[in-house]
């Protein structure tokens, strides 16, 4: 383990930014946190987490996939990608760090999504342990330890020091690059902090959220539940939950007519929208109840059924905080629990 005095944090950021692009969670003009490219003078946020998740780094809201240029009867197909720069994302919380594992299962499975893969290869994730989880947090339901987040490297801010530890080869490389700023140290302070954080985590109101029974075997029972009507009753059909979610990964691909050709792009889509997966025959899910059910069935049933029991949720709590009508995966899971137990 290495450490660095916290008042040297800016110097550390400076050293990283000299070599590659660095992103940290910092407050924006509205007072909320978001990942921003670090520049001199930018400070880390005091907030627990960013409004938008860290998935944006690998799966941006919009990206151009291919350009078609028309010259008479000729069509030229152009790959619009330029070589990605290497980048470091510093300060990713344990929930978001786990979300990459989930996204990998979607985008890195055959056929591999090369747009996503390229970003993953160029990015180094340095996660940061939580010390003050919120009541909306329930990462422990998914076996995530907020005091020991995943990532290429991870850090803890304790007292007046930042402690760092590498977890992967990329993480080793990252630590080696800033070795002159840090010094070797023991892990007593970190272990003491972890114990404290884990104690707090046990007191969180959603600590005991139990997802037993949410699996492929109970798929139809859950799908046919009468509860969906009541649960989806007030849903506005907006995309807030899907867009702040670190694991929602659905997208649409569309063509944009540039006048002299076509730009084919993809953009985030939401299963809550009326035109989601619209096809020649229309939308297969005609009512908000069906769209609402799709989102939660995907996260709690379909995804684990296809991915060795891994849920499509990391318990970050963003949807709990941001849904305009305060309906969310926790309420859905609790309401449906009696169907399967």
């Amino acid at each position: 383990m290495r450490k660095l005095p916290i008042d040297q944090l800016s110097a550390l950021f400076q050293a990283i930014a000299e070599k590659e692009a660095l992103y940290i969670p910092a407050d924006d003009s509205s007072g909320q946190a978001r990942f921003q490219r670090w520049h001199e003078g930018m400070e880390m946020t005091q907030a627990l987490n960013t409004v938008r998740s860290a998935k944006d780094f690998f799966f941006p809201q919009t990206e151009n996939l291919v350009d078609f240029k028309l010259k008479g009867k000729e069509i030229e197909v152009i790959d619009p990608r330029t070589e990605h720069e290497d980048f470091v994302v510093f300060g990713v919380r344990g929930c978001d760090a786990r979300s990459f594992t989930i996204l990998d299962k979607v985008f890195l499975a055959e056929p591999v999504d090369t747009y996503y893969k390229s970003r993953r290869e160029h990015g180094t994730i340095v996660s940061l342990a939580c010390t003050h989880p919120e009541e909306t947090c329930f990462c422990s339901t998914f076996g995530i330890d907020p005091a020991a987040p995943e990532g290429d490297a991870r850090g803890w801010i304790e007292g007046d020091s930042l402690y760092l530890e590498a977890l992967t080869e990329k993480g080793e490389k990252f630590l080696a690059a800033v070795a002159d700023k840090t010094s070797e140290c023991g892990d007593e302070a970190v272990r003491a902090q972890q114990e404290k954080t884990r104690d707090i985590a046990k007191k969180l109101p959603l600590h005991e959220l139990n997802l037993t029974g949410f699996n492929g075997e109970n798929m139809l029972k859950l799908f046919d539940s009468k509860k969906w009507g009541e649960l989806s009753q007030a849903c506005l059909g907006c995309g807030t939950c899907t867009f702040v979610c670190p694991t929602c990964q659905c997208y649409d691909i569309r063509d944009f007519n540039t006048g002299s050709g076509i730009t084919r792009f993809r953009c985030w889509d939401s299963c809550m929208y009326s035109d989601f997966t619209k096809m020649a025959s229309g939308n297969p899910r005609l009512t908000q109840l069906e769209r609402f059910r799709q989102r939660f069935m995907h996260k709690l049933v379909y995804f684990p059924a296809n991915n060795e029991g891994e849920y499509g949720c990391v318990g970050c709590g963003r949807c709990l905080a941001k849904c305009p009508i305060s309906m969310n995966i926790v309420k859905v899971a609790k309401a449906l629990a009696e169907e399967v137990r």
């Binding site: 509205s30 007072g31 989880p133 959603l206 007030a234 941001k322 305009p324």
Partner: protein, 324 residues
């Protein structure tokens, strides 16, 4: 008040005067309240809540609910009654199918607003006089209510109900709200500063459509932005200005119909002060056509859908700094 409301709901359900009740339902925490339709005494007793966190405007739900069988009891706050009236004027709610019970409102806050004040790990909240006492994972915190309310309640325009069949609690009054202060500040900016201000704010938009979907004035069956055939349906912006256009077009579309309930800004996950766009229109309409408050009544013609020989002349608009 909550007990009075439950008693009233039970009475009307029991007598068969209504078959459903539109209100608010408790959640996991004290603040995460969901609008809900109740159909039985058991449901009311179990989940019905009315407290300082019932901010959702219920009127828009009545577009659908008033078309179902039987009469529905709707508990409406003063704010909600403006929206209700406006929707009546637009023939969107079937009045005969709704029994409106007006309920008082002393301002509604939410988890996000409290957290912006530095409160973390909320376990419980109780109201003591003019303060919220918040029990958190990290100790108890006391916040003055006046500091812990969102902007829309701090500049509340009215505690008076514009429509009701029955009122619980005392009749409130229309207030002198100072709600145009920020609009005036923005008006005083130079065009470049103003452009930068809005570009900055709107650049955070993630096009979740929450503002549109919650807005009682946005009641089109199919929004032009969701309509593939319109040619302007946007799932992704072609350039950074297109995102801005969505909000500007929406503000134009609800101009003269927006009651200033503030739901757009409440639901915005990115804290964009969208209500300021609408307030600018309200202020201009007041200036050019005389004081007008959408939702105040159901019979008058709105300035922008009416012609009057006394209507503002272009020269007056020029005099206000408009371009020739």
């Amino acid at each position: 008040m909550q007990e009075m409301m439950i008693a009233k709901a039970k009475e009307l359900l029991g007598s068969g005067a209504v078959n459903r009740v539109l209100g608010w339902k408790t959640g996991e925490f004290v603040y995460d309240i969901t609008p809900a339709v109740f159909t039985s005494v058991e449901e009311l007793e179990k989940d019905f809540v009315y407290n300082d966190f019932c901010g959702n405007n219920l009127s828009k739900y009545l577009i659908k609910e008033s078309r179902k069988e039987g009469k529905i009891l709707a508990f409406l706050k003063p704010c909600d009654t403006y929206s209700f009236n406006q929707l009546l004027k637009e023939h969107r709610i079937l009045r005969d199918n709704v029994y409106v019970v007006g309920v008082p409102c002393e301002g509604k806050t939410d988890g996000e607003t409290l957290k912006a004040k530095g409160v973390k790990g909320i376990l419980g909240i109780r109201t003591e006089g003019d303060s919220f006492v918040v029990d958190t994972l990290y100790g108890e915190k006391t916040l003055a209510k006046a500091d812990a309310l969102p902007e829309r309640c701090l500049s509340c325009k009215s505690k008076k109900h514009m429509v009701y069949d029955e009122l619980l609690g005392p009749e409130g009054e229309v207030l002198d709200s100072h709600r145009f202060d920020m609009v005036e500040k923005i008006e005083k900016m130079t065009p470049d500063e103003r452009f930068e201000f809005w570009r900055g704010e709107l650049s955070r938009c993630i096009r979740c459509n929450a503002c549109r979907n919650v807005c009682p004035a946005c009641s089109c069956e199919k929004c032009v932005f969701d309509n593939d055939a319109s040619g302007i349906a946007q799932k992704a912006a072609a350039d950074s200005f297109e995102e801005n256009m969505f909000h500007i077009i929406r503000a134009f579309h609800v101009a003269g119909r927006c009651t200033d309930c503030g739901e757009c800004s409440r639901v915005c996950p990115q804290n964009i002060p969208l209500h300021l766009l609408n307030r600018k229109f309200i202020k201009d309409i007041d200036t050019f056509y005389g004081e007008y408050q959408a939702g105040e009544d159901t019979t008058t013609r709105a300035p922008l859908t009416n012609y009057d020989p006394g209507d503002v002349e272009p020269s007056i608009v020029y005099g206000k700094g408009g371009k020739k």
